[in-house]
Symmetry: C2
Subunit: 349 residues, 2 copies
């Protein structure tokens, strides 16, 4: 006997990303702000002033990628249970990508899912991480290996928060912007080359353009079964670099910067990008204060690490590369091991 | 500036529940069987014999509700990473409700979600838990408080596995069957009253009827924003009982049996069910070897525990009760505290 199950999910999931000053937020439910001491010291009062109708619970977790762990998520969940949060309660992710990923993940897990809102305070999270519903934590095997797809109810992007952002973190955000340009939009790449990326006007343009690209890609492929994987350009290499350096030497965007340079070396080797364009990308990254080199001490070990990455399906590694120079993309999982290892050796020895 | 996100989820999630002998399962991906030593000793060889194309990884976790924890889920995930499982890999949940909930939860978390198949071996999981996609674990604050909604790709229900099931566990499954009958189907309740529930023919009828009710309810309301909550009849009380007895004295179905008796006492007090029908339900449970009484030592503490339950929204407790006797249901969250406490006192002192 067969009983069919058919869950009608005909209602599309919709939410808005607002790039503007932080609006007034009015709640009639319990609300928790998840943040870290750095963001809290600089900006918590501004957020508290904008919240009406409820006194939020503030949950502070340590600052840094090395605390993006299941332990921290379980700590967040414990605070919610202790304060009797329920299925109608709302979480606010107030910080960078690490805070956003862990808050979204906590929201997805708490009583099988409650609402959350992204209020990103770093450039990286404003242009990329806060949009699209990827949540999760790292573990000893690698980055973001445990998590869920779970969309926020809204994303509020206030560029004013960037005024206090350290230069290094700002640069890390620019890396993800460059990523979108190289993969999807040559004109945007040229804008980035010629513009002062620290003027307020250009910051807003850069955020709006990046978020639009990201939203378009996520709209096409939420669960990353196809084109969304293109947003991982540079990340296959970056995740190994972050793992080798124990998530402490490089900011995520910095590792992505190096990872894109590595991916481009592979692309040049495969004839997918000209030497000249690879240099252009490297120069743009360097001009924006990003690292572009890394010493691979053991190419075999670096290569083995790829297989722990999420992008490794059935033992094959997918590489995201320019297809025909800047503004184009291709997902390749049939690259000769010798080409991959030769590319790694350019960074070794 | 506003960038809208619209994720089109127009494809309904569909899968089949098959009530029949275990079919041949053919895979071209990595497969892990998650089970416990009890089920493994009795039935693993049968499952292994039915799997073609791949040698599955077998992950054994300790048997029992007290091991339904995040620690056990993280143990399962670690085994998958160590064995280089990837996004195409498949998990098989082979056991009762605890195994099903934890395997589904692990599948939902591993690299943001991989496929899993339910192969339930207990009556409780065959008639109820394996269908509908509720996954999760317990924590110190209560049952199933951390989890996700995540649907299996298929459910294979083979009643042959029940031949080795201890009587006590079989009875625990009958409790959930009685739950569905009392809430949704008076005729089914009468069938249960008059039938030998251990004959093969009646077992298949009971499973098919229960699964059909469950599937109908889940089809209407996957995320439990409405009618699906009716399946929690008896559970508001049961979760407190399980928590007070540290998940060790009663099987889940046994606690649900007591919980339904308690819910019916409340229903009688509120005029929603006749004394006579409450006795009928109690007798049916008792006839099937289920506990129907519990000594509440501290009614205030018992009452306070309700608020940690997932069914407590914005400080209100929802009770699932018969609306007008057997075969009908209502969700009430406006019951006087005095009526609730008086009901608890019937079981105290």
């Amino acid at each position: 006997m067969i009983v069919p199950i058919k869950l009608e999910k005909n209602e599309p999931v919709t939410y808005d990303i607002m790039i503007d000053s932080l609006p007034t937020l009015d709640f009639d439910t319990k609300v928790a702000i998840v943040t870290n001491p750095t963001v809290s010291n600089l900006h918590l009062q501004k957020l508290l002033d904008s919240i009406k109708g409820v006194k939020p619970l503030v949950i502070e977790v340590p600052d840094g990628e090395e605390y993006k762990t299941m332990d921290t998520v379980l700590y967040i969940l414990d605070r919610l249970f202790e304060n009797r949060f329920d299925r109608k309660s709302v979480l606010l992710a107030f910080g960078g990508g690490v805070i956003g990923d862990m808050t979204g993940f906590s929201a997805s897990l708490f009583q099988r899912g409650i609402d959350f809102i992204q209020i990103p305070t770093t450039l990286l999270s404003q242009v990329d991480a806060s949009v699209g519903g990827k949540t999760g934590v790292n573990n000893k095997f690698g980055k973001n290996l445990i998590g869920s797809f779970y969309q926020p109810k809204a994303v509020y992007i206030d560029p004013d928060f960037l005024k206090t952002l350290p230069d290094r973190e700002y640069s890390a955000g620019v890396a993800e912007v460059v990523k979108m340009a190289v993969m999807f939009d040559k004109e945007f790449f040229e804008f980035l080359q010629k513009s002062d990326l620290k003027s307020r006007e250009n910051i807003e343009k850069m955020i709006a353009h990046s978020v639009s690209i990201k939203a378009r890609v996520v709209n096409m492929d939420e669960k990353e079964s196809g084109i969304r994987a293109v947003l991982n350009y540079g990340h296959t290499f970056a995740h190994v670099i972050e793992n080798e350096t124990k998530y402490s030497k490089y900011l995520h965007g910095e590792a992505v910067s190096i990872g894109m340079v590595m991916a481009n070396r592979l692309a040049v080797r495969l004839g997918l990008m000209s030497e000249e364009e690879a240099v252009k990308v490297k120069n743009l990254l360097e001009k924006n204060g990003l690292p572009v080199d890394y010493h691979i001490s053991d190419t075999d070990s670096f290569y083995e690490h790829f297989f722990l990455d999420k992008k490794s399906n059935k033992g094959k590694i997918s590489f995201i590369l320019p297809k025909n120079g800047i503004g184009t993309h291709i997902i390749k999982n049939d690259i000769d091991v010798s080409d991959i290892k030769a590319t790694l050796q350019e960074f070794g020895g």
